[in-house]
C-alpha cells in the first residue's frame, strides 16, 4: 500500500493524458456493452413465451386471417386449457411518424392467458365492460401524455376509418418481451365495425402440459388441414423467435462492425499507454539505483496500466448498465426490454484485463530488465 502514492503520482503527472486514456477505454467498453446488448436482447426476446402457450396462424402467411369459428373447435381438443384470439389492427396515431403496435383482442380470455400483463383490478373491470375501451402500455402513456378516460383516435390503414377508443387502463408488463408500447382493444368492437367478417389474426392456445406441445400443435393443424384456411401451430417461443430472425444478418453485421471499432479504440489506447511508459526510462533507472527491485518495478508499471484500464472499464460498463434503464431505452420499439446482461459485463471486464496485459506487459518487462548504467547515460 505504501506504493499507492507513487502510482497515483505517476498517473497524475500527465493528468490530461490519463483522463483521455481512461475515457477512451470507457467509450470503447460502453460501445461494446451497447452493441452486445442489442444481440443479447434480440436473443432474449426469442426466448420469451411460456412453454404452455401455442400460437396458431394461417399457414398461407402472416397476413391471412383465420375464421373465428376455429376457436370453438380448438377448445374442444384434449389438453387445451385456455384459448384467446387477436387481430392485428395497424392503426396510425397522429401524423403516423411514431409507430406503436395496436391490435384487437378478446379482453377477458386474453388477460387471463397473459398473466404478464398486469393492471389494477378496477381498470381491468372497466376495460372489459367498455366495448370501445382500450388498455395501453405505460410507455405510451408517457410518450403521448395521455390520461385515463381520454379518447384516442387511430386512423385505420388496413381497416378504414377513424377509430376512437377510450383509455380504460394502463398496464405494466412483468416480462419485458411483452412490450410496454402497445394498445389493445376489444375484438368484439373490431369485428362489428368491419361488418362481422368473423376473422381472427391468430389464436393463442394454452395447454396444461408443455411436453405435449408438439402433439397438440399437430392435432390442431391436422384438424384444419383440408379446410379453406389450413393452420400452422407452434409454441409461442418459436413465434417470437421468428420475429427476431427477421432482422436477417443486419444485426449480425452491426455487431461485427461494432466489435471492429472496439478493437480499434483499444489499439490506440494501448499505444498511448505504452508511449507514456517509454518516456520514463530515466526515472525507472533512478528508482533502480535507489534500490527498487526488478519485481517491484514490474508490478508498479502493471498496476498503473491496470488502474487506467479498469477505471475505464468501470466507467464504460457501469455507464451502459445505468444509462439505458435511466432513459428507458427500447430501440424505438424494436428492442423491448433492452438490458445489459451480466455476461456482457463479465466479458467487458475480461477485455479490460486483456487491455491491461497488452498495454502494460511490454513496458513493465522493459522496466524490470532495464540496465541501470545505460539508462542513466541515455537520460543526460
Amino acid at each position: 500500500m505504501k506504493y499507492l502514492r507513487l502510482v497515483l503520482a505517476n498517473l497524475g503527472r500527465h493528468k490530461l493524458r490519463t483522463v483521455l486514456t481512461i475515457l477512451s477505454v470507457a467509450l470503447a467498453l460502453f460501445l461494446f456493452a451497447s452493441l452486445r446488448s442489442v444481440t443479447t436482447t434480440l436473443a432474449a426476446s426469442a426466448q420469451f413465451g411460456g412453454a404452455r402457450r401455442l400460437v396458431t396462424l394461417n399457414a398461407t402467411g402472416l397476413v391471412f386471417p383465420l375464421p373465428l369459428a376455429y376457436g370453438n373447435r380448438i377448445k374442444t381438443l384434449p389438453g387445451v386449457t385456455g384459448l384467446s384470439w387477436a387481430n392485428w389492427f395497424g392503426g396510425k396515431y397522429g401524423d403516423g411518424k411514431t409507430f406503436f403496435a395496436n391490435f384487437a383482442v378478446d379482453p377477458e380470455s386474453y388477460l387471463a392467458i397473459y398473466p404478464e400483463i398486469v393492471l389494477p383490478a378496477d381498470q381491468k373491470q372497466t376495460f372489459i365492460q367498455d366495448r370501445t375501451g382500450a388498455i395501453i402500455g405505460k410507455r405510451l402513456l408517457s410518450r403521448y401524455g395521455w390520461k385515463l378516460g381520454q379518447n384516442v383516435t387511430l386512423q385505420g390503414t388496413i381497416f378504414q376509418g377513424d377509430w376512437t377508443f377510450t383509455i380504460r387502463g394502463v398496464y405494466t408488463p412483468t416480462d419485458p418481451a411483452i412490450g410496454d408500447d402497445v394498445l389493445i382493444f376489444h375484438h368484439e368492437y373490431f369485428d362489428e365495425r368491419i361488418g362481422r367478417a368473423g376473422i381472427a389474426g391468430w389464436y393463442i392456445v394454452e395447454i396444461a402440459d408443455p411436453s405435449r406441445a408438439p402433439a397438440i400443435a399437430k392435432s390442431i393443424d391436422d384438424m384444419f388441414r383440408n379446410s379453406s384456411s389450413p393452420t400452422k401451430t407452434g409454441t409461442e417461443r418459436e413465434f417470437q423467435a421468428s420475429f427476431a430472425t427477421m432482422w436477417g444478418n443486419v444485426s449480425f453485421l452491426m455487431s461485427t462492425i461494432g466489435l471492429a471499432v472496439v478493437f480499434a479504440i483499444l489499439l490506440v489506447t494501448a499505444n498511448a499507454m505504452m508511449m507514456s511508459a517509454r518516456e520514463r526510462t530515466g526515472e525507472i533507472a533512478v528508482l533502480k539505483t535507489i534500490g527498487f527491485s526488478d519485481r517491484l518495478l514490474f508490478a508498479l508499471v502493471m498496476v498503473e496500466a491496470g488502474a487506467m484500464a479498469l477505471t475505464g472499464a468501470a466507467l464504460g460498463l457501469g455507464g451502459a448498465k445505468l444509462l439505458y434503464p435511466a432513459i428507458n431505452f427500447n430501440g424505438a420499439g424494436f428492442l423491448p426490454g433492452f438490458t445489459v446482461a451480466t455476461s456482457t459485463l463479465i466479458i467487458g471486464a475480461l477485455v479490460a484485463v486483456g487491455l491491461m496485459l497488452a498495454s502494460g506487459l511490454i513496458p513493465a518487462l522493459r522496466a524490470a530488465r532495464l540496465p541501470v548504467v545505460q539508462a542513466l547515460r541515455q537520460v543526460e
Partner: protein, 386 residues
Amino acid sequence: MIPIIYNVRSVVRRPVSTALTALGVGLVVAVFIGMLALANGFRAALAKTGNDANALVLRKGADSELSSGLGRDVASIVAADPHVATAADGRPLVSPEVYVLIPLGKVFDTTQVANVVVRGVSDRAWEVRSNVKVTEGQRPTSGRAEVCVGKRLVQRFPHTGIGQTLRFAGRDWTVTCHFTAAGSAFESEIWGENEQFMPVFRGDVFQSISFRLKDPAAFQEAQRSLQADKRMTVDVHRESDFYAQQSQLLSRILGILAFMITSIMAVGAVFGAINTMYAAIASRAPEIGVLLTLGFRPSSVLLSFLAESAFIAVIGGILGCLFALPLNGIVTSTTNWSSFSEIAFSFRVTPLLLFSGLAFAVVMGIVGGFFPALRAARLQVVQALR
C-alpha cells in the same frame, strides 16, 4: 513555414505508433463508410423500385401495398382514365396487382423465416415496370400456375430454379423464368398472373394498380382527377416517391445507429490521436526548441504539427477506405418493417462515401492534433532545449 517533409520523416521515424494510430482511425473510417453503405444500399434498392413515369393507386389511407384493397371496378375506372399511357396496340398500360406475403423456404417453426412478396401482375406489368427484365426462361403463360422468380431469391431459397416447383397457398407453381430489376426490391419478389393469385389468396380484390403516365410531368393532374372521382376512394402516389417512402423507417434507424456508433467511436479515436500526439511532442521537445531557435514562428510550429496529425489521419482514412471497399456489392437481407417483407440488397460504397470518410479522418486528425500542436507552439525555447 516548416517544410512538410519534416513531418513526413518524423512520422516514418516512429512506424509502430504511427501505424497503430492510423489503424485506429482507419477502422473508425471503415465502420463509418460500411454503415452508411448499408443504409445507402437499402435506400437505393427501394428508390430504384419505383419509376418516375409511373403512378401507383392504393386505397385511401393505406400506407403500404399490403394494407390496401381495390375492387375490379376501380381497376376499370383507372384503365379508362385519359392520363394513362397506351401501348402500341392502343391498350392502356395498366397493371392491377395482387400483393401478398408468404412464408418461404423454412417456415416459421424453424430458425429462419422470410416473408416473401408474391405479386400477381397483369400482362402489361412487364412493360409498365420498365426496369424488370426476364433473364432466363419464358414469362408465365396466362391461365397456368406458373411464376417468375426474382434473381435475389434464387440464391437464397430452395425450389426456385427454372422448371422446379414451388409450393405455396396450397398449390404447386412451376417456375418458368428468373428476372432482374436493376437491383431494386422487385428482385426479392415472386411474380405470377394476378388472375391466378386472386382465388387462392384474398379473393376478388387487387392491392394496387400501377399505370404508366401519358405525360410524366402531368402527375398532379392525374392524381387530382383520380382522387376526385366519386366512384372510388383512392390515394394516387408517384411510384418512385412511394417506394422511397417505404424505405424511410429502416434507413432512418440505420442512419441513426450509424451516427451514434461512429460518433462514439470518433471520440475514442480522437482521444487516441491526442494522446499519441502529446507523447510525440513530449519526446521531441528538444527538436521543437531547435526549430524555434532557428527562427520559425510558433504559428508555423502549430501548423506543422497540425499537418502531421492530419497526415497520420489521412493514412488512416486511406486504410479505412481500403478496408471498406470490399464491402461494395455484398448482398445482405433484412425485413423492411414498412412492408413487412424481406428484401435483399447490396452494400453500396459510393465515391461520395469514400470522400466523406477521408474528410472525416482529416477532421479527426485536426481535432486530435490541435491541443498537442498548441502546446508545441507554446514551448519555451530555453526549457525545451534543456
